[in-house]
Every structure is written in structure tokens, then in C-alpha cells.
């Protein structure tokens, strides 16, 4: 079992921007010390939902400040960037860290990102698919030569080449069936949110399994990971009460920046997200607080016993053994560090998790 921490760089009113990054580095270093296997950075623009606009740059800093832990991007928003630059920087970090860097990619969900960077959101899935294929081609064949629907590239050889051989693991982030099928057809592991029913989650993994198998991949060997907010307190109610307000704020920041229903309605390639909105409305969610409650019900938030029970059940029912936790929901530096410690010492060992040997 591998466990990583999500470094959100969320910016609440009571922290300065500098504090956001200072504390984030504290969390990263603490994760390294406690033996967590990985730390993951989120790319966002124009929102206090997350202040990190360049996960690759920040990953370089985190890698430099840590000794052992793997550092991943969750995500690089591929359509906003250039595939050769991503491949170059990934390889650079892979070389500098001796394989400690992990590239995770996504296609974006915030309309102002597409607007500001001049990218057609309606083609985000095609762009992502092509860029991923280009990066992997660079890893496999050394050339960026490409003639595709969204980009044409000359026959150039980016340097440095990758440290990890034959090629680094690349994660795809998302859980729409189209993304799952796309990732499965390439054998890319998925980072998925732990939300919704177990049966729904299993259906995602079943779909992945079927497609991956039909493309010659062994689905059992693919290290999918599930992401969740994580917090522990004396009782489950206390744990929820501790973070409810902050979670509602964070959700609101997300909703302020994300596609609206009206925008999603016009984007066939975001049909899944439209369906999620619709399901929430039919479920009875009317306010941000309603959705926050729903999200918390599915998160690893509760007493030690409840968190252990929940994770046991998820692991048993899905077979997924990798988890990425967002411990920051108290938005209090010391309490976040405490939560990381409690999970590392009281929750995770009961699930068979072991800190990395050098920790």
C-alpha cells in the first residue's frame, strides 16, 4: 500500500501567499519524514482554490527540499502547455531527482484557463490525447516528430532524455468513461476521486480493466490511485465539524472558477461533468453546503476507527492500494501536521501500510 499527500496550495484569507507556500513546504518535508510515499501538486490559475500555476517548477523545489519522497503533478493541465516543453521538464526533473518525479496530466476544467491561454476547451480531450502520445513517443523513440489534428512538430530530439527506463509512469487524472477508456487504451494509471458509491467506483475500474485487457495490458499491474480529503478527530462528527466550513469555502472557490452548467451544456467533451451536476441536482443538492456534506460522506474523515473501516472497505471492494490524501482541510498549519502524523501512526499501520524504509 502506498500513500501520498496532496499539496493544494489553497489560499484562505488568514494566510498570506508566502505562508501558503511556506506551509506547503512544511507539509512536503513532514510527509518525507513520516515515510509517505509521494506528494502531489495541483495546477491552477486565477483562483485561490490553488496558488500553484506551474506544478513542474514547484515540483523541482519540493524535490530539492526532500530526500526520498516521490513528487507528482496532479496535474499538469496539458492543453495549456506545449508537449515538448513538458517532456523536457519532466525528463529534467526525472534526471535531477533520480526518478523521484511523477508526471500526472489532465485536460483542465476551469474556463478562464482556456480563455486566457487561448485554447479551445471543446478540443481539450483531443489535445491531451495527442500531447500524451507525443510525450510517450519522445520517451520511446527520442523524436518529437508529429503530424496530428491539433499540432505538428518537426523531427527534433529533446534533451535530456528520461532517467527512468524504459519510461516513467504517467498518470491520467479523471473519471469520465471517455477518459477511462482513453487511459486504459494506453495503459496509463488513473488518479480518481474517492466519491460516489463503491459500485460506481468499481464500474470505472471494470471499464478500465476491460479496455486495458483488450489493448494487451495487464490491468492488475496498473497502480491506480484514489484521492480523498482526510481528517481525523475523536469522533466522526467532530472531524466533520472541524473542516466543514473550510471545505465549503474550498468548494465555493472551485465552483467560482469551474465551468458552469450553461457552459458544460455546450461542451460535449464535458458531458460527464454535466451529468455530475445533474445528479447532484436530482439528489437534492441545492447549495454548496449540500455538496460539501455529500463529499464529506465519501471522504476519509472521521474517528480513527471510521477512517480505518472506510479505507479497509474501499481497498477490499476496489482492489486499489494507493491513496492520496488531502490533509489540509483544517487550514491550520499545526493541525495539518498533526493529522498527517495521526494517519501515519494510528490509521494507516492498521491497514498494513508501512512508511518508506529510509524515513
Amino acid at each position: 500500500m502506498d500513500v501520498g499527500v496532496m499539496l493544494t496550495t489553497a489560499h484562505p484569507d488568514h494566510w498570506t501567499e508566502t505562508e501558503v507556500f511556506d506551509y506547503t513546504m512544511d507539509f512536503a518535508v513532514e510527509a518525507d519524514t513520516l515515510g509517505y510515499q509521494s506528494a502531489w501538486l495541483l495546477e491552477h490559475h486565477f483562483t485561490r482554490y490553488g496558488l500553484c500555476p506551474n506544478t513542474l517548477t514547484m515540483a523541482g523545489y519540493v524535490l530539492g527540499r526532500t530526500k526520498r519522497i516521490k513528487v507528482g503533478t496532479a496535474v499538469v493541465v496539458l492543453p495549456l502547455d506545449h508537449p515538448i516543453r513538458i517532456a523536457e521538464q519532466t525528463n529534467l526533473l526525472d534526471q535531477l531527482s533520480h526518478g523521484r518525479f511523477v508526471l500526472g496530466v489532465g485536460r483542465g476544467y476551469f474556463p478562464r484557463d482556456f480563455e486566457a491561454f487561448g485554447v479551445d476547451a471543446g478540443k481539450s480531450h483531443v489535445i491531451q490525447s495527442e500531447y500524451v502520445d507525443i510525450i510517450r513517443q519522445i520517451w520511446r523513440e527520442g523524436t518529437a516528430k508529429w503530424d496530428g489534428e491539433t499540432i505538428t512538430l518537426p523531427d527534433v530530439t529533446p534533451f535530456p532524455t528520461q532517467y527512468t527506463r524504459p519510461e516513467p509512469v504517467m498518470y491520467g487524472v479523471g473519471q469520465s468513461p471517455s477518459t477511462i477508456e482513453w487511459a486504459a487504451s494506453r495503459g496509463l494509471p488513473l488518479l480518481m476521486a474517492l466519491i460516489g458509491s463503491m459500485e460506481a467506483l468499481r464500474s470505472n475500474l471494470d471499464l478500465y480493466r476491460e479496455i486495458a485487457e483488450s489493448h494487451g495490458f495487464d490491468p492488475e499491474s496498473i497502480p491506480h490511485a484514489l484521492c480523498s480529503v482526510a481528517h481525523v478527530a475523536a469522533t466522526t462528527q467532530q472531524a466533520r465539524d472541524d473542516i466543514f466550513g473550510n471545505m465549503a469555502w474550498w468548494e465555493q472557490e472551485h465552483d467560482n472558477a469551474a465551468f458552469t452548467m450553461e457552459q458544460l451544456e455546450k461542451l460535449p467533451n464535458y458531458r460527464f461533468q454535466y451529468g455530475e451536476w445533474q445528479a447532484a441536482a436530482l439528489r437534492g443538492d441545492r447549495t454548496n453546503e449540500d455538496f460539501t456534506n455529500y463529499a464529506l460522506e465519501h471522504s476519509v474523515v472521521g474517528s480513527v476507527e471510521d477512517c480505518v473501516g472506510k479505507l479497509e472497505r474501499v481497498a477490499e471492494e476496489t482492489g486499489v492500494r494507493n491513496f492520496l490524501f488531502g490533509f489540509e482541510a483544517t487550514l491550520d498549519r499545526d493541525r495539518v501536521l498533526d493529522t498527517m502524523n495521526t494517519f501515519a501512526t494510528e490509521v494507516l499501520p492498521r491497514l498494513g501500510w508501512k512508511p518508506d524504509a529510509e524515513a
Binding site: 469520465s176 468513461p177 471517455s178 477511462i180 477508456e181 460516489g196 458509491s197 463503491m198 459500485e199 460506481a200 464500474s203 470505472n204 471494470d206 471499464l207 476491460e210 458531458r271 460527464f272 454535466y274 451529468g275 445533474q278 445528479a279 436530482l282 439528489r283 471492494e317
Partner: protein, 504 residues
């Protein structure tokens, strides 16, 4: 080469190609796909000793063995009391599931499409159509209320007491319904389950070896909506072999059994059902079309092609025989043209070896007997007198029967006929009484046979009536009723017989 020879070789070519495609999708070459049971909303995965079941195309599925433990869990009853849930809440829940199914970006729908292709050899279009049907059915909230109103008299009759003359009536669910499902028409599962749920019955879906997909997908999609909802917790999707003693126990404990499929399934249900239980039999049935000499041939032909193409004639409502007092050659040519059109519009499902053999044998027999046989990758059309039919094959095989007078059709109808399509529609007024008297259950305009309209019946039954108990609270003494002008007192009436004459 004669037309008939070409036809047969083309049929075989198609058969071989389709079977190869089916085997590629599933068949015996790939390992069986594991599938769970769903027991009152909870998953039971197959263990190391699964039961292998096989569809008509040879696709195998590994399911759990139906053992004592599973039977006991079912017999213990659902953990939720669906009878206590208002109908609008049930309908709303089904609508939520239907909205999921409507979205092409729903993983369960994607898996279901793959399963239909694997199990049945469906084309992409046919599989999509089937999933769309599930979505449309689950979202048809107004129609669900209307079905209750039409069959049970009032749309709130499952929720409260409804005044009816000198009584109040309320419909109660029978309890647990067991659905012995067919392997030929996946949509039957949706219909059967829907009827159970809108009458607040718990539902045990006993799927067929050839069609585990729909029952499981529906039960699991309910979990996707809300794993703890009373609807979710009132549904099971399981499989047992015909002679399985645990399965017989479940059937014996059922309050109502909906038995779909062949005579054997219905007979087995009747045998297993307890004296208090009710069996609702669906099938086996066959269907036909009547085309008058004044019919618009183009429209009639298209309608017949549609009714013969949906479900590849595996359904009870699929037309096989077309009686006409018009020009049989012109009609046959029209049907051929439209079946070709349908080969593109609704690409053919993989034909099983049995089906292919049946078509070829019947075509050969008919040719030998002097019938006109035309066929190809699109299907087969045979012009023959009705008495010459040996078998009614599937795989888009249509007989055209010339008759001098449409009243001759009466002689070819019995209680096994479900649907009669009419073209032109005006024929129905002339013939429906006699055809109905001889056993026909349902009349539709040609081309509408799969569309069961609100208010219609199913195999001559009103299923919701059979799935409920109608309880009455009759008016008390002080309520005179329309026949009385004084309090109703039976003892007084007996004691003073003259009162009856004076007051009633």
C-alpha cells in the same frame, strides 16, 4: 445460379462472419467475464469455484453458485420496506437512475453496451438502442403514474385509500416478486422490474444464462444512485439452474412470480409457486401482420421490416408471418427492399449457429416445396401458403402468405398469437373482434409492435393488477349508500322484512 441458391450461400456467408465476430468479442476463446450477484443491493462476488453460464453466442460469464447462504439472504427479505415508500419517491429514484443511463458518459452504460455485444452479438446501434430504452423507461415518470392509474384505477391507490362508490380501496404490494427472465429480449428485464417497483414489490431478478447483463446493470445502477435507498435495497439479481433446490425454495416463497419465456419456464413457475402465490405468465407467443390489398405498400413494408428487425425476431411481438390479399410479389419485394434498408439502419445481431441452421433448413425446405425464396445478408423473404410453413425461423425471416380473403387469417390464429400488426390500420375495425375471440392479445399498426402503449395489455393481462392486492374498506352502517335512504342494518332488515321494502 438461381435466386434461391444465391440466397442460401449469402445467408451462410453472413452467418460465418457474424459468428466469427461474436467469438472475437466473447466466444469460447476468451476467459469468462466475472459477474456478481446483487442481493438486496449488496454485491456477492464469485469465489474460486464459480458457475459458468453461456450465452447463445458462446460468451461465458462466471457467476457465484446459488447456495444456501444466498438463498437464505433472499428469503430473509429485503432490509428496506418498499411498501412504506411513497410512489413518487420510487418514481423519482427511477428517474435519477434513468438520467444516469441517458448520459453517454456513464461507465455502467459503457460496460452494458460492451456486454450486449459480447453476449448477444449486438451491433453498436442495437446496443445503444437497448441502453436508450432503459434510460427512456426509467425516466418515464408520468407514464409510470399513468400505468398505475390505468391498471389500478387511481394513481395514488398505492399510497392511500381511494374512495370508490361505497368503499375505499387501496392497493398493496404482494410482497416479494421473483422474475424468471428470458434470454432473448434484454428489455423484458427492465419492464418486469419496473412493474414490480412501481407496485412496491421487492424484486428478485433471476436472470437467464444468456442474459445476465440487464438485471445486473440495473441493480448496480441503483447502487450508483444511492446504495442505501429502499429501491436499491429491494432488488436482487441472481442466477440459478433450473433444477437448483435453493432456487425452487425462493420460487416457492415468492408472493408473485413473473415467468417470461418458453412454456417450460412458465410450467416450472406454476409448479414451484406456493398456493398463496400468483404466477404471471409471459409467453411463449408468436406475432404476425395482416396487409390489405389497399395498403400503402411502402409504409407497410417498412413497418414489417422494423417489426422483424428489432430483436431479430426473438421477441414475442416480432412479426414472422405476413398475410395479404394483395399482390404477394410486390409486397415481398417491398419487404426485401426495406430489410436491406434496415440492415444499415439497425445492423444485424450476430446469428447463432442454431438460428443460422434454422433459416437455412427452412429456406431449403420451402424451395423444395416450390416456394419463392429471396434472401441475403439483410434477411430472408419467403412467399408460401401458410399451410406450408414448417418452422418460423428468426434472423429477419419473413413469410408472405397470399390469401384470397383476409378472413382466412382467422384459421391461422390461436391463443398463442400475441400481436397482430395491421396495414392499413382501418383493417382493425373489420377483423379485431373475430381475431380477439380466437386468441389474439394485441393489435397494433404495422411497424409499432415493440411499442407497448399506455393502457395496453401484455399477453392479455394487466400485470399491475396481478402484482397487487386490492383491499377494500367498506362503508359503515351510517353510510346509506346509493341504494339506501336509511342506515344500513342487516339485522333489522332480517328481523322486520317489511323495512327492506320500505327503505331500500
Amino acid at each position: 445460379m438461381r435466386t434461391g441458391e444465391r440466397a442460401e450461400s449469402q445467408v451462410w456467408t453472413v452467418t460465418t462472419r457474424n459468428m466469427t465476430a461474436a467469438a472475437g468479442n466473447a466466444g469460447g476463446q476468451t476467459r469468462p467475464r466475472p459477474a456478481p450477484f446483487m442481493v438486496w443491493g449488496e454485491r456477492v462476488d464469485p469465489d474460486g469455484d464459480p458457475r459458468l453460464i453461456e450465452s447463445a453466442t458462446g460468451a461465458r460469464t462466471a457467476v457465484p453458485r446459488f447456495d444456501d447462504r444466498t438463498a437464505e439472504r433472499i428469503l430473509a427479505g429485503p432490509p428496506a420496506d418498499l411498501a412504506a415508500v411513497p410512489l413518487q419517491e420510487i418514481v423519482t429514484f427511477l428517474n435519477r437512475a434513468g438520467q444516469l443511463w441517458k448520459n453517454g458518459e456513464y461507465a455502467r452504460r459503457r460496460l452494458y453496451l460492451r456486454e450486449l455485444k459480447r453476449l448477444h452479438g449486438y451491433s453498436d446501434k442495437m446496443a445503444e438502442t437497448e441502453a436508450d430504452l432503459i434510460s427512456a423507461t426509467l425516466r418515464s415518470h408520468a407514464q409510470m403514474h399513468d400505468m398505475v392509474a390505468v391498471e389500478l384505477g387511481h394513481r395514488a391507490v398505492l399510497d392511500r385509500w381511494i374512495p370508490r362508490e361505497d368503499a375505499e380501496v387501496r392497493a398493496f404490494p404482494r410482497g416479494t416478486s421473483v422474475h424468471v427472465l428470458p434470454g432473448n429480449v434484454p428489455y423484458s428485464t427492465t419492464v418486469s422490474l419496473l412493474r414490480a417497483l412501481i407496485t412496491k414489490n421487492a424484486a428478485v431478478l433471476k436472470y437467464s444464462a444468456g442474459e445476465p447483463a440487464t438485471a445486473l446493470a440495473l441493480a448496480q445502477s441503483f447502487c450508483d444512485v444511492d446504495p442505501e435507498h429502499p429501491v436499491t435495497r429491494s432488488v436482487c439479481a441472481v442466477f440459478w439452474e433450473r433444477d437448483c433446490p435453493q432456487g425452487r425454495r425462493v420460487l416457492g416463497a415468492a408472493d408473485v412470480i413473473c415467468a417470461w419465456g418458453g412454456a417450460e419456464a412458465v410450467t416450472a413457475a406454476l409448479r414451484a409457486c406456493s398456493p398463496e402465490g400468483v404466477v404471471v405468465p409471459f409467453g411463449p407467443r408468436r406475432s404476425m401482420t395482416v396487409v390489405g390489398r389497399n395498403a400503402d405498400l411502402a409504409r407497410a413494408s417498412r413497418g414489417i421490416a422494423h417489426d422483424a428487425s428489432m430483436y431479430e425476431q426473438r421477441a414475442c411481438f416480432s412479426t414472422h408471418q405476413v398475410f395479404t390479399d394483395g399482390d404477394p410479389e410486390a409486397l415481398a419485394a417491398g419487404i426485401e427492399r426495406e430489410l436491406m434498408f434496415y440492415a444499415d439502419l439497425l445492423p444485424r445481431t450476430a446469428v447463432t449457429a442454431d438460428e443460422a441452421a434454422q433459416v437455412s433448413l427452412e429456406a431449403a425446405a420451402q424451395r423444395f416445396l416450390g416456394s419463392s425464396v429471396r434472401g441475403g445478408s439483410w434477411g430472408t423473404v419467403i412467399i408460401a401458403p401458410p399451410g406450408r410453413v414448417v418452422e418460423l425461423p428468426t434472423a429477419r425471416t419473413v413469410f408472405v402468405h397470399p390469401v384470397a380473403d383476409l378472413r382466412e387469417v382467422y384459421g391461422w390464429v390461436d391463443a398463442a398469437v400475441q400481436t397482430v400488426g395491421m396495414a392499413p390500420w382501418s383493417l382493425v375495425h373489420e377483423h379485431r373482434d373475430e381475431l380477439a375471440r380466437r386468441g389474439v392479445c394485441r393489435f397494433v399498426e404495422a411497424g409499432l409492435s415493440p411499442l407497448f402503449r399506455l393502457g395496453g395489455t401484455h399477453d392479455g393481462l394487466q400485470p399491475l393488477v396481478l402484482m397487487t392486492r386490492m383491499v377494500a374498506v367498506e362503508a359503515p352502517r351510517a353510510d346509506y349508500g346509493k341504494n339506501g335512504v336509511a342506515p344500513v342494518d342487516q339485522s333489522e332488515f332480517l328481523e322486520h322484512s317489511r323495512l327492506r321494502d320500505l327503505l331500500v
